[in-house]
């Protein structure tokens, strides 16, 4: 059975229809064609599909699309402002914090959530924040460096 679903993604209102069995990531990718969010494990363990749902970091593979009816979602597509990459995206490039790139959208959402929650995170808090994002390429060190740089700049009142 199909259900009407209205939701706001990165400030844009969408109206769509989907079966109750559609997960939030299926809704984002297959209905709204926002394919930046990736599906890895499909059981909430790898973090590739992380998005913010009403300000809370969630695995969009273990949320039903119908559960997001009326919700406010932030995805990787909301990071850049047009052609201008966000502070985190620029830092990831600078520090080579990605290789294959599959984990990156989820990794960036976890980093964004950390910065939203914590003004000046410790290295341990950064590691803790991405502990549920699996990356098989980088070894994580460069990712922590990238997030560290943005967090430092923010706490000094520098970059946005």
């Amino acid at each position: 059975m199909d259900y009407d679903i209205e939701l706001t993604v990165n400030g844009v209102k969408y109206k769509t229809r989907a079966p109750a069995s559609f997960t939030l990531i299926q809704l984002l990718r297959d209905k709204l064609h926002l394919t930046g969010t990736k599906e890895g494990c499909g059981i909430g363990e790898c973090g590739a599909c992380n998005v913010l749902l009403d300000g809370k970091l969630v695995n969009s593979c273990v949320v039903l699309g119908v559960e997001a009816n009326g919700a406010e979602i932030r995805t990787i597509e909301g990071e850049a402002n047009g052609e201008e990459l966000s502070d985190l995206q620029q830092a990831f490039i600078k520090h080579h914090a990605l290789q294959c790139g599959f984990c990156t959208p989820g990794m960036l959402m976890s980093a964004r959530d950390l910065l939203n929650r914590t003004a000046n995170p410790t290295d341990e808090e950064i590691v803790e924040a991405i502990a549920a994002n699996l990356c098989r390429c980088t070894g994580y060190v460069t990712i922590v460096d990238a997030i560290r740089e943005v967090a430092d700049a923010k706490s000094k009142g520098g970059a946005k």
């Binding site: 059975m1 969630v58 273990v62 039903l64 119908v66 803790e128």
Partner: protein, 274 residues
């Protein structure tokens, strides 16, 4: 997967849906466990009932006498962030913080953790030693059961098809009571318990209790009150190792789980001295 979805806003509407759908209904709180079961086709309900529309089920209440209750849709991170749980009930938020990942804990509920009745549920041993009760409702009928009486075995509870778990009630703890939690897992990050255990020390009632999870079909509660005045870690470990009935599986063998239970109990008793 082909099911209908309902999100009632009152407990009355919820009971009506459960009466109607019977065994064809699945209750959805956080969904972190249910979605896996649905996607793996371990469960094929006709109707999924989302509990998040009912405000009453989302409440955490701390009562004047020191007791507390939380509803069916209270997520693990809310328990961790609630400072009032960090006194005598500290084993509960600590167990929550050692459970799954931050992301999952934003969705996963404690009631879901209990009602799924997975033997390795991390919130169960603390709630057992704290004497928590599960409130089951069907329409206007309410019954309260001690947690060990609610869980019957692996993924089995005494919940009837027309019932739902409305809340968990944690009684007030006697003055000076302390609780501790320990978990043994393969890796430091998010991993299921090979064995987990909680300890309660109540100096007023001279109660010393240990609950062990992941080592039997249902949680095992061990009463060590008789050694309250002179706790003997070796004897406590021996009794707990005897009380469990673990299985060998992909995570650990029977022998290893029994040994690790002994280690956890000895460490819990040393936590008490610290």
């Amino acid at each position: 997967m082909n099911f209908a979805y309902e999100k009632p806003t009152t407990t009355k509407a919820l009971s009506g849906l459960l009466e109607q759908a019977g065994s064809g209904a699945a209750l959805l709180a956080g969904g972190t466990d249910l979605l896996g079961q649905l996607r793996g086709r371990l469960l094929e309900p006709q109707l999924v009932i989302d509990l998040k529309g009912i405000e009453e089920l989302s409440l955490i209440e701390h009562h004047e006498d020191g007791s507390a209750s939380f509803g069916a849709t209270v997520v693990a991170n809310r328990i961790i962030d609630d400072k009032r749980f960090h006194g005598p009930m500290a084993a509960l938020p600590i167990a929550c913080s050692r459970s799954a990942t931050f992301t999952i804990r934003n969705r996963a509920t404690i009631v879901g953790n209990i009602a799924n009745a997975s033997p390795c549920a991390d919130s169960v041993p603390p709630l057992c030693v704290l004497g928590a009760e599960v409130e089951l409702r069907a329409g206007d009928e309410v019954r309260r059961l001690a947690l060990p009486a609610f869980i019957r075995g692996v993924r089995a509870t005494v919940r009837k098809k027309n019932e739902y778990v409305a809340a968990v009630h944690v009684p007030a703890q006697a003055k000076g009571t302390r609780t501790f939690f320990r978990k043994h897992q393969r890796v430091r990050g998010h991993d299921l318990a090979l064995a987990n255990a909680a300890l309660l020390h109540d100096p007023e009632g001279k109660r010393l209790r240990v609950a062990i999870g992941s080592c039997s079909p249902a949680p095992v509660l061990v009463n060590l009150d008789d050694m309250f005045d002179a706790p003997d870690a070796e004897e406590a470990a021996r009794r707990c190792m005897k009380a469990i009935l673990p299985i060998s599986d992909v995570r650990a063998s029977v022998e290893y789980r029994i040994d690790m239970t002994g280690v956890l109990v000895r460490r819990l008793l040393s936590d008490l001295q610290a």
